[in-house]
């Protein structure tokens, strides 16, 4: 939309224009409300006294503000360990993912690489066909990866879709930037670390966001590939607590949920709200700043994909 068009419209704004504008604004305000308010609602409940929340009627701000829900959660050893696992898998999974994906994308971005077409076909084929969950489980078992931390980070290390996004990006780096390094005798690996990676910070940040979000949110691998309690990530405990409060949503007695928290008057629901706030906050902090980049990333990916 150009400036000229905007100006023009301002000059000849008809009644119809006004009506349309108002309708659209109202619709969009509703969209924003429906999207954002549920999050706001859990935040005010997470920061409110549990017993008080259970009486209902709290819509705008906490009535009896408190941090006790978070204190109860963080005092629980299993939550401490779960937060550690979630952070660890997010950090390690993202670093590994970005490193492996960008290395492969870098190599594939050279047009003179031998067997390039063959590599492309074999890589892309895996985007469209898969063996399904059952053979995959058998594989993990045979590799001895079940019940280890590595089952969280290794299998997802190379996402072919993200790799294609990066190939597209690396190809836009002008070759003159590589040349001087080559003349100085640097090899491909050095060029990768010293020129290609530093030039791709924005794209790498986008891919890192995608990997990090999927690691942080992931829970099914913990349900099916892991049985050890000390390997549970936060999302798993959250799933348990949500399922519990769903099946026993009438129960407001915190003790029956296994939390010795009745003294602190935190109900299961409040703990659930607090855990959801803990899970959403990191995402909420990061994604708006990367918006510009991931929008670009999605577009590049879908043009080729």
């Amino acid at each position: 939309m150009t400036d000229i068009r905007k100006k023009r419209r301002r000059h000849i704004r008809s009644a119809e224009d006004w009506a349309v504008d108002i309708t659209i604004t109202v619709i969009m305000v509703l969209v924003v409300l429906v999207t954002v308010y549920p999050f706001y609602y859990i935040v005010i409940h997470a920061f409110n006294n549990g017993m008080d929340s259970s009486t209902g009627g709290m819509y705008f701000w906490p009535r009896r503000p408190t941090l006790e829900n978070f204190e109860t959660l963080l005092a629980d050893a299993s939550w401490g360990s779960a937060i550690f696992i979630s952070v660890a898998r997010t950090v390690i999974g993202t670093v590994l993912g970005v490193f492996v994906t960008s290395a492969v994308a870098y190599a594939l971005s050279f047009e003179h690489v031998m067997f390039r077409g063959g590599y492309y076909k074999l890589y892309i084929f895996t985007m469209y066909f898969s063996g399904g969950m059952i053979p995959f489980y058998i594989l993990l078992k045979s590799l001895g990866m079940l019940n280890t931390f590595w089952v969280y980070v290794i299998p997802g290390m190379l996402n072919v879709y993200y790799m294609l996004i990066l190939v597209n990006f690396f190809q836009t780096i002008p070759s003159s930037l590589y040349e001087s390094a080559w003349l100085d005798g640097a090899g491909d690996i050095r060029v990768f670390f010293q020129i290609a990676l530093p030039l791709s910070k924005a794209s790498l940040a986008t891919i890192a966001l995608f990997y990090a979000v999927s690691q942080w949110n992931s829970w099914m691998d913990s349900v099916y590939y892991v049985t050890k309690d000390e390997l549970r990530p936060m999302s798993y405990l959250m799933m348990e607590i949500i399922n519990k409060s769903a099946t026993a949503s009438t129960v407001t007695n915190a003790q029956s949920m296994g939390y010795a928290a009745s003294a602190m008057q935190s109900t299961t629901t409040s703990l659930q709200m607090a855990s959801m706030v803990l899970a959403v906050t990191p995402i909420l902090i990061v994604y708006p700043f990367l918006q510009k980049y991931f929008v670009k990333g999605v577009m590049i990916g879908s043009v080729k994909g």
Binding site: Y119, Y128, G132, L139, P155, P288
Partner: protein, 317 residues
């Protein structure tokens, strides 16, 4: 010849010397391929157990050494009482998604394009991406918070205002599951999926709008005659992609929003595979059910792609 190639990589020389020159690149690509061979291609070979009697204790070798049983598992699935429900749920949910969750981002992009204030536009966009980044666990948590018949916000308000007499049972009534599934899907992904359409709209030549305006087209007419034709290609491509996922269903959603009370309407092929495979440990039977699904899905992509090439000229392959 490209200068870049001259300097470092394309020496005239034998196959072996060329390979040596780019050995580090080849090493990276081969390692990547090895990774995919293990984590993607080996499981593909594993599909073979759909036609075999497989025991988990036999491990990977069991893919080859187990006994053939032909179509035994397929026949068992088609004659089982769950078959009809699972296939119906998968298809109904997919078709509803195609009919509602697919056009939603297009409509959203069109509306967004009509906003003049760029600040407001940006606010709406940023807010609309948020649900994409959160897990289905959180979505289900939000659903319980909003819709629970005991202390959900919606019931609380509706009862207070006297609009309903008894609480709505959105989460536990099987008949309402399909609506819940589509609603949450639209809520979660509309903003994200709109990105590509917003970009396509931004690419339309503004002279076309000028011309339409001079010809006396009102805003709705401009949308219909300029914007929509302008993004037709994008819509077709995204439609084909959506069809590819048509029978995949949303496993996370089925696992989190499905419960024993709405199981008859929430169980889809994918979640059924997990239940029989990893809960009841019937690996061979589960693999057969899972395979059927991927075959249908691949067939759908290729046939719609061919159809689209013939009718609209736009195609993926």
């Amino acid at each position: 010849m490209n200068k870049k190639d001259e300097i470092s990589h394309r020496p005239k020389g034998t196959f072996a010397s060329r390979f040596r020159q780019q050995a580090s690149l080849q090493m990276i690509l081969l390692l990547g391929l090895l990774f995919l061979a293990v984590f993607s291609y080996v499981p593909m070979v594993g599909i073979i157990i759909s036609f075999k009697e497989y025991k988990l204790s036999t491990g990977l070798m069991g893919f080859f050494t187990s006994e053939w049983v032909g179509f035994k598992w397929f026949i068992e699935f088609f004659t089982s009482p769950m078959c009809f429900k699972v296939v119906r749920n998968t298809l109904v949910l997919s078709l509803l998604k195609l009919a509602i969750a697919f056009p939603a981002p297009i409509l959203f992009a069109l509306l967004l394009n009509e906003i003049h204030s760029s600040k407001f536009k940006r606010l709406v966009q940023t807010a609309s991406y948020l649900p994409h980044f959160i897990s289905w666990i959180i979505v289900s948590g939000l659903c319980f918070t909003m819709f629970s018949s005991v202390n959900g916000l919606l019931n609380e308000l509706l009862l207070k205002w006297g609009w309903i007499d008894g609480p709505l049972t959105i989460l536990t009534d099987g008949k309402q599951y399909w609506g819940l599934a589509i609603g949450t899907e639209v809520w979660k992904e509309t903003g994200w999926n709109a990105i590509i359409f917003i970009a396509a709209i931004a690419g339309i030549d503004s002279a076309l709008y000028e011309a339409a305006q001079i010809d006396g087209a009102n805003r709705l007419q401009r949308i219909i005659h300029v914007t929509l034709p302008g993004i037709k290609g994008t819509i077709v491509i995204m439609f084909i992609l959506a069809l590819g996922g048509l029978v995949n269903g949303n496993l996370d959603q089925a696992m989190m929003l499905g419960n024993n009370l709405n199981r008859d309407y929430s169980e889809i092929i994918n979640s059924y595979v997990l239940t029989i495979g990893l809960r009841q440990f019937r690996f061979d039977y589960a693999a057969a059910v899972g395979m059927m699904q991927s075959v249908i899905s691949v067939a759908l992509v290729f046939s719609t792609n061919a159809l689209s090439r013939r009718t609209t000229g736009a195609a993926l392959y």
